[in-house]
Symmetry: C2
Subunit: 175 residues, 2 copies
């Protein structure tokens, strides 16, 4: 499937409502447990997505459009949310994520990107040369990856409770 | 995390809205592509979940409550949906799933299950003795596993489009 801006936006638009439908008002044991040391709970993941909205996707798109490969992206802080989320409820985090995502998609639309500008290049500090369309495709896949992480973390809480059915449930397996 | 009926129901209640938020009105390329031969598209998954509501979870719970281990469950047809979904839109499938899930959760509530009845045993045709609470925990994990499958299938459509970022995106990896 080739990258098309409208298809990417269709998915990016749906992520906040998807996570809200899944997580809002869910009992705390589902929200706060993780997969062990140095892993994230569903609550942590929403904080991470918020931080991405603030510092990663649109800021990097702007760097590409304004500076091209001349200015590498700022490295992304993958654990900033542990401080930023402190004291917030899951509903507050979900609302913040939805609001920031909506603002960022408005900003993306206002860029009036064309097939030509989507091929503009930027400089990732570790990965080297990347294009704007690759950045936007990554934004989509990053969303999907964290939805996957959230459901995997929750499923694992029932790893023992399913009894013999564990053999049939790939989500309880190796990753 | 120990099985508790209220926590299980909290998740089972949210699955239809979660999948609706993610998939309804999404452009067809996201909905209809799969991971290759003998794999399922997001569209196929919703049909599979519908078939589970019709023939798997509550019918098996009833068999446990009425017959215990004396009557093995009917084997579940994992690919019945390829016929049953034919000609239906994704919105129709999502609506059907939501309606059946709501009915089944009403039926579950009406069983007035206690910690004792949750330990009642049934006979799985392949796995042998299982308990009612294991069946219900499996229902939850089965939901989560198919949400995970849906997002993985969609993410893979952008496997090439993310360029060098592929190295950072576990969802594009081995499973």
């Amino acid at each position: 499937m080739k990258f098309e801006l409208a298809n990417a936006i269709a998915l990016l638009t749906r992520t906040p409502a998807t996570l809200s439908a899944l997580l809002r008002d869910l009992p705390d044991p589902w929200l706060m447990q993780n997969e062990g040391p140095e892993t994230w709970s569903p609550y942590d993941v929403i904080g991470h997505l918020i931080h991405g909205e603030e510092t990663d996707w649109i800021p990097r798109a702007k760097i590409i459009l304004e500076h091209g490969e001349a200015r590498p992206f700022e490295p992304f802080d993958r654990i900033a949310m542990f401080e930023q989320s402190k004291g917030k409820t899951i509903s507050e985090l979900l609302d913040t994520f939805a609001q920031l995502r909506a603002e960022n998609l408005r900003e993306l639309q206002s860029m009036n990107l064309t097939p030509e500008t989507l091929e503009k290049r930027g400089m990732h500090p570790e990965l080297g040369t990347v294009t704007l369309s690759q950045l936007l495709a990554t934004w989509v896949v990053h969303d999907l990856g964290h939805i996957r992480q959230v459901v995997r973390v929750m499923a694992k809480q029932y790893g023992a409770e399913v009894g013999p059915w564990k053999a049939y449930l790939a989500i309880l397996g190796r990753d």
